[in-house]
Every structure is written in structure tokens, then in C-alpha cells.
Symmetry: C2
């Protein structure tokens, strides 16, 4: 990738000159835009802008000027990004997961850019009111950017890594990207903290630190967009079949998006959604290999052969739960391990299941199975049980919750929610009982990385 990097150095120089001309004024905006567009068309996207602008500041341009430049800059930038990304998106239909990723990256680029510009403007603004305004904008930008990790990155890590990267043995790319994602998450979190704690340090110290860290974060964000757009997405494009994209589309909404709202997309009813564990055989075809971006092909050369993941998810006799496959043994063990005691009564009010007695709060025994729930309660409270069930069945109530002290235990009982099937028919009610006393003692935080062997 050295060549690519040198190309970027060259482009940077061109961009710098262009920005200076914008700053000096006097030239037609349209003409400048055209040149801007041309400079950017070769590389995608212009991740160097923050660095160039930092150089401009060093060359004596006042922050006020830079702030003035902001609008045009961002507009030019948008067009530039649009110009280059069109190359990558043009064959993709709306709602296609890959198109969504590209579109999000545009938004990320824009916000990274804004972050950097405002941070630097803040550093040179003397006016108190102006500072406050800029801080407000920065808080919003940073709070937005935190969502990149929850949505865009998370979707990549959870939806696109597993289908092809891991299953097809290309685990290294995933690890590198994820590590960098986490670095960026950390950077943005740090910015948020810095903003929150700004009263705790002298203004100059805060603003200097913030400006530097914002610059680093903006650069890292743009750099990631560049890597994704130029290496990762083309790889996905080369490898994933329509069925895989369909499966991904079906799951995307669970994670959400960064500033885009993709429409439904379906490659056709005849295309079966293909989940990672169904990709069999996972070996790369010659065609797929040759379709990979040059960088990835290069990286694969001289490496040990890829270890394909051929494990089968569904075993004989497994129960298909819709969100996984379990055998009876595992299912029982799960119910036994739950911190909630479960009892299920069916639509005829009969006890149909209870979780196995591990350390149950209220004992249950097999003799209760098939028993009408009304006969499982002290006669004096049966009328309440009936009232609750009636309210559930008629849809008037969505839960009934109780809590009582029982020795050292604080027992929390929840009847919720009335369960309905896909047709909306009532299929039963779930009783969940747990001891919440231990949760009331929990304080502070204990994180995975705090774990000691």
C-alpha cells in the first residue's frame, strides 16, 4: 500500500493549495468546487483534510477564518465524497446492506470533519458566548459519533465479519478492523469525558487537549472509512452471495444505523437467506479470490492456507428455537441455571411447565403439571388470580407484579407478558419469580477487564 500512501501525500499537497485559495477568496466558488472534486476523485475519501487544515493553522490562518471556511468546506467535501462514493455505490440497489454501509460512511466522514473543524475553531475563539455555542455543537457531534460504535461498527462486527471473514478463514481482517473500531470507540468516549469534565481544568489546558484528541479521533474515523470503502467493502462484494446479503438485511434493524434509514430490500423470493453456518462449503472459489481487492490478495500471499470453518450448527435431534439449536439436555440445563424461577400456564390455565428445582424460591413438583392454576393457589386468593388472568386474556393488562419480603430474600414475582402466538392468539401466562435482594447490594461497576483468575 506504499504507492497508495504516496499518492495521498501528493493529493494532500494539492488540497492544501486549494484550501488556501478558498481562504484567500476572489475566485469563483463553482470553479473551486470543480477543482476540489477532481483532486479528490482519485483517492477516496479525502481523509487528509484534518491534517491539511492543521497545517493551515500553523501557517498563520486565524481560527475565525477557518470557521468562516467551514460551510463551503463541508459543502465541497460533501460533493467530493459523493463524487467518489458514487463509483462504489452505483451498482447497488437502495436498501442493500453494502449500500447502507457506504452511505453511513459518508455521514461518518462528515461528522468527523465537523468535529475537527469545530474543535480547532473552539481553540482560537476568545468570545465567551461563541465558545458556549461551539461547545454545544461539539457535544452534539461527539454524542452522535458515539453511536457509530453501537450501529455501523457493531453491525459490521456482528453481521458482516461472521458470514465470510470467519467462516471462510479470513479472520485476520476482522481482528484488525475490530481492534481499530475499539480504538475509535475509546477515543470518542474520551472526548465525551473531556467535555463533561471541562470545568475541572484550566480552559487553555482543556481546549488544547480537546483539539488534539478531536483531531486524532477525526483522523482515525476518516482512516477507517477509507479502509472500509477501499478494502473491506470490495472484499465483501467479491465474496457474499445474494442469499447472504438477504440474511444480513433481515437482521440489520436489530443493531440500527448511523444517520441513514435504509428501505426494505429483497433480492427475490426465490433467494433463500443464507446464514453463516449454512455456507457450505466455505472455501473460496477461484472467481471469488480473483475478485478480491489487490490489497487483500497481496495480504493472502505467503500466508498459511486459510482454515475454513466447517462446523455444523444443527445436530441430529436438535430443537429449532428460531434463534438457535439446542438439545433437551442443554435446554434443561439453561432453565436450571436461570436466576428466575419460571412457571408457565397454558391457555386453559393449566400448569404446563416449571423450571427445574435448582434453588427455587417456591418449591414446585411434578404433581403440579396439568393442574388448573386456580387449584394451585390458596382458596382465598383464587379470585384475584382469576381477575388477573381475565385482564390478560382480554388484553386490558400487560403485567402483574408483586414483591414480598421472605426472610433474607426479597422476592419479586412478575406475571408478564401474556403470551401470544403469531396469530395474536393468547397462548398462556408466564410466572417469573426471583430474589432481587442481591441486586439491591450491587454498587459501582465491575467490567470484564477487571476479572481476575
Amino acid at each position: 500500500m506504499t504507492e497508495l500512501l504516496n499518492n495521498r501525500e501528493y493529493k494532500k499537497e494539492q488540497l492544501k493549495r486549494l484550501l488556501l485559495r478558498i481562504h484567500e477568496g476572489g475566485e469563483s466558488v463553482e470553479k473551486l468546487k470543480d477543482e476540489f472534486r477532481q483532486v479528490l476523485s482519485g483517492i477516496s475519501p479525502p481523509l487528509e483534510i484534518p491534517l491539511i487544515e492543521q497545517e493551515l493553522v500553523k501557517e498563520g490562518i486565524s481560527a475565525k477564518d477557518i470557521a468562516k471556511m467551514c460551510d463551503l468546506h463541508v459543502e465541497l467535501f460533501r460533493e467530493a465524497v459523493k463524487g467518489t462514493d458514487e463509483l462504489e455505490e452505483r451498482d447497488l440497489p437502495d436498501g442493500h446492506p453494502l449500500k447502507t454501509l457506504y452511505l453511513e460512511n459518508k455521514e461518518i466522514m462528515k461528522d468527523a470533519e465537523m468535529l475537527n473543524l469545530y474543535a480547532r475553531t473552539l481553540a482560537t475563539t476568545k468570545d465567551e458566548r461563541m465558545r458556549k455555542e461551539i461547545l454545544g455543537v461539539l457535544e452534539e457531534i461527539v454524542s452522535n459519533l458515539r453511536k457509530v460504535g453501537f450501529t455501523h461498527y457493531n453491525r459490521e462486527e456482528m453481521l458482516t465479519f461472521p458470514p465470510y471473514i470467519e467462516r471462510r478463514g479470513l479472520t485476520a481482517i476482522a481482528t484488525v478492523l475490530w481492534t481499530k473500531h475499539d480504538e475509535i470507540r475509546f477515543m470518542i468516549k474520551y472526548l465525551a469525558e473531556l467535555l463533561r469534565k471541562r470545568e475541572e481544568m484550566p480552559w487553555d489546558e482543556f481546549v488544547e487537549r480537546f483539539k488534539n484528541k478531536a483531531g486524532e479521533a477525526a483522523f482515525a474515523l476518516s482512516d477507517m472509512v477509507f479502509r472500509e470503502n477501499n478494502i473491506y467493502y470490495p472484499t465483501l462484494k467479491a465474496l457474499l452471495s445474494e442469499g447472504e446479503w438477504k440474511a444480513i438485511r433481515m437482521q440489520e434493524d436489530e443493531y440500527g444505523y448511523y444517520k441513514v434509514n435504509p428501505p426494505e430490500w429483497d433480492p427475490g423470493e426465490d433467494v433463500k437467506p443464507l446464514h453463516p453456518w449454512e455456507i457450505n462449503p466455505p472455501e473460496l472459489s477461484v472467481e471469488q479470490l480473483l475478485g478480491l481487492p489487490k490489497e487483500v490478495q497481496e495480504a493472502l500471499k505467503g500466508q498459511p492456507p486459510l482454515e475454513f470453518d466447517k462446523s455444523e450448527l444443527k445436530r441430529e435431534g436438535d430443537i429449532d428455537l428460531g434463534t438457535g439449536y439446542l438439545n433437551i439436555e442443554e435446554l434443561r440445563a439453561i432453565f436450571e441455571a436461570l436466576p428466575v424461577d419460571v412457571t408457565f400456564i397454558d391457555k386453559d390455565d393449566r400448569v404446563r411447565f416449571f423450571s427445574p428445582p435448582g434453588e427455587r424460591i417456591f418449591g414446585r413438583s411434578l404433581s403440579v403439571l396439568g393442574r388448573p392454576v386456580q387449584l394451585c393457589h390458596p382458596p382465598k386468593s383464587v379470585h384475584i388470580v382469576n381477575k388477573i388472568l381475565r385482564a390478560f386474556k382480554e388484553g386490558r393488562k400487560k403485567e402483574a407484579t408483586f414483591w414480598i419480603r421472605l426472610g433474607p430474600k426479597y422476592v419479586y414475582i412478575r406475571y408478564v407478558p401474556p403470551l401470544f402466538n403469531e396469530k395474536g392468539e393468547y397462548i398462556g401466562t408466564l410466572e417469573m419469580t426471583m430474589d432481587i435482594a442481591p441486586y439491591k447490594e450491587i454498587k459501582g461497576e465491575k467490567r470484564l477487564l477487571d476479572w481476575r483468575d
Copy 2:
């Protein structure tokens, strides 16, 4: 039952005279014991003793004398009970659930008797130190008697009511007994509260109230023993088959016992445990009907025909979970309704199941299935995940728990317990995630009877 009652009146007169003779002294203890035994042999058990003793108090016998009488009295009483109960137990092997019930009733009778005697002694004791001692004894008795509800009564309600009473349509007996059980539970709870709050009222008021309430509770307890021994247990004996008793014995330990510790009992390997829902047809045979106690036969006369419960528990395609039968639809609905997000990784560290996305705290999508758990974590924390799993597999740790703040949520994550199958082999690890913030807000109590439509 009028005849029975008159017989009891007569016996009461005899007992009263006997107790007076004990009080007057001068006669051989052994001779008195013999007569006591004879008087009691006709009826079982001597539930009238508290009443008789109350009459003695009215006839001017000092509480001190009654206290002196206590020991002999209780001893005689024990023998008497033993004499009569032997009739009911003699055919039953040790560990047979019915024998256990009879044995517990003896203990209950004894403690009810003690409660009454000590309460009345307390009422007439002037000595401060003596009062304290008696109060200590009473606290212990009352605290013991509270367990009658959790063990003896609870086992009857949960284990013996359903198999024959309800399934065979004899629901009225169950309802009557359960209502009376609850009255007794309430009486004993009241006594416990009275003891706890005794400083809040004048001594005379407390002791008078306590004496009366203790007398009522003791009488109710004895009365229940009488009903059970003479009506309920013979009915069970007439109806339940060996298979049913075997099934009951297998579940008894879940509820516990009142002051007895029954050994294992098994009618034989060839006897299949018979659960309530397996009793088919549930109609009473002529032989069973004729074997019922006279009181029950009388009660059944002139009643509408019994409504037998013929519902089938296991439906076609149901999954046998060991503690119930569910179809896939119900199983999925249960996992969706749980207040805990579940993810299961199998013995090879692969994600095999996650609970369906209702309001999951951390999103999960199908693409995660079959994925090695190490690839589902940010690269920087993978080494910790591996450490935890190693500690689980080697049996060095039984849980790993974490908690973090996430906006308004207080997220509690528990990896527990490492799951093992019946052979003790590691089959996987369960991740459970829940928001405990709502539990931290819970205060006071909200009971079933507080529910409003």
C-alpha cells in the same frame, strides 16, 4: 358425625377427671398413664385436651400447678398419641408418604399442646425471670409451628391434593382443607407478631390476648390433625395406588418435612411412578368408593356426579423438558418474555442459542450462531473470555459476574453456572444479562391480595 362428637364430649369428661387426679397426686403415675391411654384409645387424637385444661383453670387450679403438670401431661400425651396412631400406621412401611404424614401429625399435636400449656402458664406466672424463660420457649414453639405451613400443609396441597382429589373430581375436600390450613397459618403468624410486639402494650393485655390466641391456634392445629388422620388420610389410602405414592415420594424432599426425616421408600422397581396427569381413567372404581371413610361416602351422597379431569398433558409434538411439556411456540414465547437475555455457548465455545430479541440489552442476530465466542468479543478482551472459560471447564470457578452502567440501565451480566450434564461433562456456559435498575427502585411489599383490576 354427631355421634362422633357426642363420644368426644363423653371422653372429655373422663379426661377432665383424670387430669384432676394427676393434679391431686398420690396415685401411681403408671396407673394413671394406663387409664389415660384407655380413655384416648377410642378417639383419635385427643384434640380436646386444651379445652379441658381451660376448664380446669376455671375451676381454680393455679397456673403453677398446671405448669407442674406439664411434663407428665406431655409424656402421657405422647404415649396416648402413639397408642392411637399405631392403628393408622401399622400397615405402612417407613418412608411411605402416608406414614410420614401421620408421624408429622404427632409432632404437630405435641407442639400445639405445648403452645397451649406454656401460653397459659405464662398468663399466671408472676416471676419476671420465669416469664422470660417461658417467652423464650414460646418463641421457639411458634417459630417451629410456622414451618408446619411450609412443609406438612404445603406438601399436602401440592402433592396429595392434585393426584386424587382434583383429578378424580373430589375438589371440595381440597378446598376445605386448604382454607383451614390458611386460617391456621394466619393464626400462627399472628402469634409470632404478638410476641414480637409485646413491648408495645401493657403486659396484662399482651398475655391475655396471647393466651386466648394460642389456645385457638392449638385447638385449630389439633382439629386439623384429627380431620386429616380420620378423614383425609384414610381417603388417600383407599384411592392412591403404589405408583402414585412412589411419584409423591420422589417429590416430597422438594418441600421438606415437619420434625421427621423419612428414609427412602420404593414400592419396587417394577412399579412405575404415576403422575396426576397419567391417572387415566380417573374415575373411582366401586372398590375405591367402598373403601372411602364413612364421612366421605356420606358427603358424596346427594351431590352432583363428580367431574373427572380427563385433560391430557402431553400433546403431539410436545418437547419433554423433564419438568413439563412445551411446544416450540410456547418455548420461544417464554424466552422472549424472560427479564433476562440469554446466550448459550456450547462445549466448543460456539454460540448455539440466544433468547429472541424482545427488548434485548445487547443486540443479537442470527449471524452470531455457530460463531466461536472468542470472535464475538472485542480483540482486547478475548484473553479474559478465554481465561474465564478455562476456569469454568477446569471447575475452578462457578461464576463470573459483571455490572456496568449503560445510560439509565444498570446492566448485570452473569456467566453461570458452567453447565454440566448428568455424567458431569461440561456442556457449555450461559451468559445472562439483565437490567437491574428497576429492582433497585423496589420498596416495601406488594402482595397478590393488593392487586387491583
